[in-house]
Every structure is written in C-alpha cells, then in structure tokens.
Symmetry: C2
Subunit: 306 residues, 2 copies
C-alpha cells in the first residue's frame, strides 16, 4: 500500500491544475446574503444542465447554501482579484460596496463578471471534508470577459496558445503574423517561459513562494497589507507562502513586517539571476542599444489593469 501523504503537499500538487475563479452566492429567507470564493466549480451535464462545486464543511456560509433553494455562480474576470480576495476573507458583510443585483432566490449576481449561472439547488453530496453541491442551471449570462485564473497559488490570466510555427513561413497568414505585435509578443513570452519555469522549480520553491520573495523589498520588508496589495495571490496563499518561507529561514518577522533574512536575500538574488540568465539566453544576441530601444517601447505602453 502506498504510504499516506501530507495534505499540504497534496494541495500543492492540486494547484498544478489551473482553474478559473468563482464567487458563489445565495441568500436565506430573511435576505441575508452569503458569498464564497471557490475554484472547485465545474460543469457536469448539458441535459439536464447541471454544474457542481464544493464547500468546506467548516464554512459558516454552508448553512445558508444548504437551506437555500437557489444559488448563483459568478465566474470572475481578470480584473476582479479584489472580489476574489474579499469573498475568501472573513467579514460581517462581504457585499458592502460591491455592485450586484439579485437573481433567483435573492442570490446576488455580481457585475462585470466573465459569466454567471443562476441555479436551483439540485443535490448535496458528502465529499469528505467538503460538501459537493450540484445545481441545475435555470439561466446564465455569457459576458465573455477575459477570465481570472488560479494556478500554483497565484492569480494568472490566459495567454492564447498560438500554435503556428514559423516553419510555415511564406503563407499569407505567416506574413500577417510577422507584423502582428500581439502574436510576436505571445511567441516571445512562450519561449521565455518555457526556459524559465523549470529552472525556478529546480530551486525547490513553488511559484507562489518565488513570487513573494521577488516582491519583498530588498531592505525594508513589507507589512502584510502592503504585501497583499503588491502580490497577485490570495491571502491564504500569501500566509502559507510566508509560513513555508519562514520554516526555510528565508523570511522573518520584524515588528509586523515580513523581511528577507540573509539566506532569503541570497535565494532572491538567485531567482533574479535565473531571470537574468534566461533574459540573456533569449535576447543575448542583440546589442545594448537594440535592447534599450526594445525596452523603451515596452515601457511606454499605457498600463492598464485586467
């Protein structure tokens, strides 16, 4: 028999399966609204139209979901990290200041999502430490916005998988693509990522841990609220990454600020070194002037969230 394993490592392994992020909402008979961030959503059946998700048995919101005849699934768009964090965090009124209307059974429908599914509660099944909730979809909104993703403990976005290889050069399409900046930048990023990630993993750090180290200021450290603002990760993942980095002796608490230790500074320099080496491998053939001109164009692109 295989030996039992530690559930932290299991959760990390599960993080390799990327998912969208949803906020699932309901209301009780008094109109008291609940909402929880969940990435366990998935489709089950087209006919009848069924979807499922699962909720921690310890969740204080579960009682409302169990009794409610309806719930709504809000699939978050790429610029809705704050919503994801709000509904993942304990709060008396998570809906305060959040634009929404009410769907079937008073379940809140959030504005500006990628899609929304309005469901009738269909079945609740036992799933170990979670309840599996199956909903029958009554209506939906297909808003098509770019989605927020969750992968290896951090928030991400989708990057189109343009498969076309330059070997087909000479075609009309290839000619067009050679002048399409979106295509060219996508290809460049893919090439860059392909070489970077394995080297980062070889350090033994998770992506979320590496991200956190690289965000921490070299000297001053960051208080938790600053850290949460700077790093695109859910609070729970930030807490877990800090925990893990502390155990490894890479960060330490300094009066409520998370600081790099000496070992942490070295490790972080190592990560920047990997990034630098990758950059040189990909762009090393160009002159300093060419690269400065290249960066100048990139830096001048208007920054826009989402």
């Amino acid at each position: 028999m295989p030996s039992p394993f530690d559930s932290r490592a299991f959760r990390r392994a599960l993080g390799n399966f990327a998912t969208g992020v949803t906020v699932i909402t309901a209301a009780d008979a008094d109109g008291h609204k609940v909402g929880v961030t969940a990435n366990s959503f998935n489709s089950v059946s087209l006919d009848p139209p069924l979807i499922l998700w699962s909720i921690d048995k310890r969740s204080s919101s579960h009682a409302v979901f169990e009794r409610a005849g309806h719930f709504a699934v809000n699939v978050l768009a790429a610029d809705q990290i704050d919503l994801s964090n709000t509904f993942a965090r304990p709060s008396d009124d998570r809906f305060a200041g959040i634009e929404h209307c009410l769907g079937e059974g008073g379940a809140p429908l959030l504005a500006d999502c990628a899609a929304r599914f309005r469901c009738e509660t269909f079945q609740q099944l036992d799933g170990g430490d979670h309840w599996i909730l199956i909903g029958k979809v009554l209506a939906f909104d297909d808003l098509g916005r770019a989605p927020l993703l969750y992968h290896q403990g951090g928030y991400c976005m989708v990057l189109a998988h343009t498969r076309m290889a330059p070997s087909q050069g000479g075609s009309y399409l290839q000619g067009r693509l050679q002048h399409n900046l979106y295509y060219l930048m996508t290809q460049a990023l893919r090439s860059y990522q392909a070489g970077y990630q394995p080297q980062q993993l070889a350090t033994g750090l998770r992506t979320s841990e590496a991200r956190l180290l690289m965000v921490l200021e070299h000297d001053a450290g960051l208080a938790l609220p600053e850290l949460l603002r700077e790093v695109a990760m859910p609070e729970r993942e930030v807490a877990e990454a800090i925990d893990s980095l502390s155990r490894k002796g890479l960060v330490a608490d300094d009066n409520g600020r998370v600081c790099l230790t000496e070992a942490g500074r070295e490790q972080t320099e190592g990560l920047w070194g990997i990034a630098q080496a990758r950059q040189e491998a990909v762009f090393g053939g160009f002159s300093v002037e060419q690269m400065e001109a290249f960066k100048a164009v990139l830096r001048a692109i208007p920054f826009k969230v989402g």
Copy 2:
C-alpha cells in the same frame, strides 16, 4: 419560470470558466487500457484526499472506469496539445506510440505531465448525462510544469498576473522590473488584451470562431487535417466553430476544404482591422523605425513550443 435554453449556448457560457486539461486513464482486468481527455477534473477534499471528474454516459470507455478499482489523472503540460487531441478522438489504441508507465491497477501514467494523481475508485454518482467519478488519491507526482489550459473553446497557457502598478515607481523592485523583459512584455500583453477582447466580442464571434477565421488562408482554404494542425483547438471545437460559421455564411465547404465566403473574408478583414487598430492605439506613438526595430527583436527570439 425561466425558459429552457439551448445547450450549445450553455456549453459556450461554461467555456468562460477556464480549466486545465487532464487525460484520465484506467485498465481492465485483461490489461486493456482506456484514456479520455477531460477538463471536468477538480479537487473535493483534503482529508480524506478526494478528487472528482465526470464522464459522458455514452463514452465507450466508461465500462472500464466503472469496473476498474483504480484510475489515474494526468494533468497535461502546455506542450501536450497533441495528447489532449489524441485522447479526445475515437481510436482503437490511443496509447500507441505514447510514452507511459503503469500505476496502481495498471492505469497508464503519461510522461512529462504537470502533475499526476493515482486514485482508488471511491464512488460513482449520477450526474444527468454524465457519471461523476470520485477518486481517493493514493499517491501523486507534482511535476510543476507549465499547464495546458482550455478556455472558450481554445487551448491557452497561463500568463502571470503581475499586479504591481508603475505608480510605485522609485522602489527597488520597480527599478528592477523596468529592466525585466518578462515583466515588461507581460504588462504590454495585458494592456493589449484588455482593449482587444471586448471589441472582438462585439463582432458576435466567439474567440474560437475568430481564431478559426484568422487561420483560414485568404484564398485557398484549408482541409480539416491542415486546419487542425494550424489552430490550437480541440477537434470538437473546430467542428463546432465550422458549423456555426457555416450557419452564419462566413465559411463554406469547397471539395473538402473549409473556405472563407465573401462575407467571411469581410468579417476576417474586420478582425484584422480590430487587431490593427488596437496595435495603433498601443504603439501608435512610435516611429516606423522604432517599431521595425522592436519587431526585429521579437522575431529573432528562438521559437520554442510550450
């Protein structure tokens, strides 16, 4: 009561929830192996360690999964589109020529995935036109490779959600990031995507349909095998997009080749026009020479899949 809705539109709306892609495998007592591509995988419980996925009740592989005491979940990496397509397509032996070893119960474990979960069959539940299969995880491999994604009918990759805004300029990190090409390109792509996608959606085309139109050669059209090779989409989605574009009169069959109609050519020009306008909005402030130098750098980056 809300009115019933068409299941094609429902499936499209579900496509807004991005997921990873898995190949789930098992073997019967005679060692006959089955494997199916599924994106309905998700985690359920940490303790006990449970995961679930669902399989079409019409699937010929289901009988093996139902009787097998074990199955394996192979989470595909970004460069495994071919595996995804192979296991989504009818075939006598999907494992021919595919590197794998055997896990518990003879369930095939594929090489070079992002993660693998070796499961004991725990429970099978009725889920409308699918069976929901729950597995208890006995062991797993956390290989951490960049994952393959599925979103709105097409394959994608993850793009890190670097949230840090340039308003924090002056910090040590910001100084570093201004020279980090990965960061600069990521920001540029985000800015580009944010403006492009809403305009593409305003044409009434799904992302997969727009992608297909833009891949079709201007004049000659493409036979289905060529089309499948050029476009990063599952066969089923390609078929559905062709169907939908035919109904709209944008493509037509010409002796087994999918061709743009006159209206299709116009629509496709419209899409390239949107791309061009977006490009000008983002990069319009640069001179022709600056942009040519910029493109020259991008084009020279070694192309690498995955």
